[in-house]
């Protein structure tokens, strides 16, 4: 097993209040797989990732990378880990991409010759060969993110932690990063834990899905299985007029995704639920009701809204 996360818990104390950030989170990942680790803002994704990377100590539980505990043998476990963390530059801006790669390689026990060779290969793969000797601060945001991924890969880790790797990037950069991540996983058999708010990215890359809400995993499984579970349960409903304003929050809570003012997709657990939705729409005329295959965005909304509702009861 490449990554084994067992019952991670973390609470933060701020003056008199206690915030439960992560609540008994467990999951596994094999090499050659990508786990889409999804959740709304503040759900506990980054805290979990940082606990796996040994940057935050868990109150309870442990994570093991290739059998090495990140709690007890942190530095041994971290030899197998590369990470690109959200909100951090991850690079020295006054050095060039190649110099950065050589530096990070040195800190990870890679010799200069190997670092230069591997660094050049990685930069070439990420189409940055012509920018090799510019300083990082002269590069675009997309290029900087590519260099940060190269730096995380310079010691050829078995596990790559990617926290929002395509956030704020243009479409081309985002597509290229996705292609390369897929190539690396398929060719080199590395495992990736990917957190993102971009459901299309998660759906395109992930083999497994874990959804976290209020610090707890509310869904975990193979992507195909998860989507199959929803197949046949998602309906597209099109109305002759706009969806009444007062109904929108209620439909959204039920997991509806609006695709236009008069059209939405909604997952339902049974045909009875479907009739209930249609009856709530009365007297607005319904133009079309069609069964559709679920996508990750629908699944995500369904689980996070359901949890939020249960949490608020």
């Amino acid at each position: 097993m490449l990554l084994q996360v067992d019952g991670l818990c973390k609470t933060y104390r701020k003056r008199s209040s206690v915030v439960l950030a992560v609540d008994h989170v467990s999951f596994q990942l094999e090499g050659g797989q990508i786990l889409g680790f999804l959740g709304p803002n503040g759900a506990g994704k980054s805290t979990t990732i940082k606990m796996i990377a040994g940057l935050i100590s868990p109150d309870e539980g442990d994570s093991k990378v290739l059998g090495e505990s990140t709690k007890r043998h942190r530095q041994r476990a971290l030899r197998h880990v590369g990470a690109v963390l959200e909100g951090s530059r991850n690079l020295y801006w006054r050095l060039s991409p190649l110099e950065n790669l050589q530096y990070w390689a040195g800190l990870r026990g890679v010799g200069k010759r190997d670092a230069v060779l591997l660094g050049r290969q990685l930069l070439e793969r990420f189409e940055l060969s012509d920018k090799m000797n510019h300083t990082v601060q002269q590069l675009s945001r997309g290029m900087q993110q590519k260099v940060a991924i190269c730096a995380a890969l310079i010691h050829q880790p078995d596990l790559l932690l990617l926290d929002e790797p395509t956030l704020g990037l243009d479409l081309d950069s985002s597509d290229r990063i996705q292609e390369i991540v897929l190539e690396l996983v398929r060719e080199q058999g590395i495992g990736v834990v990917l957190t993102t708010h971009q459901m299309d990215v998660a759906e395109a890359l992930s083999d497994r899905i874990a959804i976290i809400q209020n610090g707890r995993i509310v869904l975990e499984g193979e992507k195909r299985e998860v989507l199959d579970r929803f197949e046949g349960n998602v309906y597209v409903i099109e109305l002759a007029e706009r969806v009444p304003k007062e109904l929108r929050p209620e439909l959204e809570r039920a997991g509806a995704v609006f695709e236009g003012p008069d059209r939405f997709r909604i997952p339902v657990d049974s045909s009875e639920d479907l009739y209930q939705v249609v009856s709530r729409l009365k007297p607005v005329p319904v133009v079309r009701i069609e069964r559709e295959q679920a996508d990750l965005a629908t699944v995500f909304r369904h689980y996070t809204h359901k949890e939020a509702e249960q949490g608020s009861v």
Binding site: L55, R89, L107, A151
Partner: protein, 258 residues
């Protein structure tokens, strides 16, 4: 560890080569500050008095600038890394932050020795005073730096928890100046025993023994032995304090925050 040391050397060298004005302006400031002090002291005490003590003033001043570099660099490093968003990457590397800070201090010390020689040369040229420095005299400097690295770890511990230590580092300059300029070893009674534990004090006494009293490295007061004890003590203490602070920062989840 070796690759890490080479990587740190290379990074410092690249930054110096790319931004040489930073180091040059630093040298100019240190030399001008010394010359200002020298002229001021000559005016107040008379050039004859200052002239007699100039050797020890120069040595003390250089020791102070070197110690300031060692004490402050770890704190500044953590502050800058947290601000620039690279601290978490440094923590993730398999060497660990404590060892990386140590490597950086070693690299900084070696570069600072070169820097100090340039400053020393300029000071000698400006004051028309010539000091002969032998390689053996670098030993007390090295031991003083080890002691300063220990304090540096304590400052870094504070920085890793609170992320801001600018004010404290400013104040620390004067504490260090006090440590370097106070002749603890010449204090009567318990003064000498205290000197063993005060950071940099036995190294200061060792330098005085070597450069002014001309006793050499092994003198009659065992200052070399006490300097080694002092250096080991402060590096050990600093590392323990830093390990405790890092653990606390990890528990509070504030490593990457600024």
């Amino acid at each position: 560890m070796w690759f890490g040391l080479l990587a740190e050397f290379r990074r410092e060298w690249l930054l110096f080569r790319r931004y040489p004005t930073e180091l040059i302006s630093q040298i100019v400031i240190v030399v001008i500050a010394f010359y200002g002090l020298f002229l001021g002291a000559s005016y107040v005490a008379g050039s004859h008095v200052v002239g007699n003590r100039l050797d020890s003033v120069i040595v003390g001043y250089l020791l102070w600038t070197l110690a300031m570099g060692a004490v402050g660099s770890m704190g500044w490093d953590i502050m800058n890394e947290a601000q620039n968003g690279t601290l978490e990457q440094v923590m993730i590397s398999s060497l660990g932050l404590s060892r990386i800070l140590l490597l950086r201090s070693i690299v900084m010390f070696l570069y600072n020795i070169l820097f100090t020689f340039v400053v020393l040369f300029l000071i000698m040229w400006m004051t028309h005073r010539h000091l002969s420095v032998s390689i053996v005299e670098l030993i007390p400097f090295g031991l003083a730096m080890a002691s300063a690295i220990g304090i540096g770890y304590c400052v870094a511990s504070m920085t890793i928890l609170f992320k801001r230590s600018n004010q404290f580092l400013g104040l620390l300059q004067f504490v260090l100046l006090f440590l370097v300029m106070t002749p603890f070893a010449s204090l009567p009674g318990w003064g000498q025993a205290i000197a063993v534990f005060v950071p940099i004090a036995p190294m200061n006494a060792l330098l005085k023994q070597m450069m002014i009293e001309q006793f050499g490295l092994i003198g009659p007061h065992y200052w070399l032995l006490w300097s080694v004890v002092n250096a080991v003590l402060w590096v050990g203490l600093g590392m323990v304090v830093f390990a405790t602070a890092s653990k606390r920062a990890r528990r509070k989840g504030i490593l990457g925050h600024y």
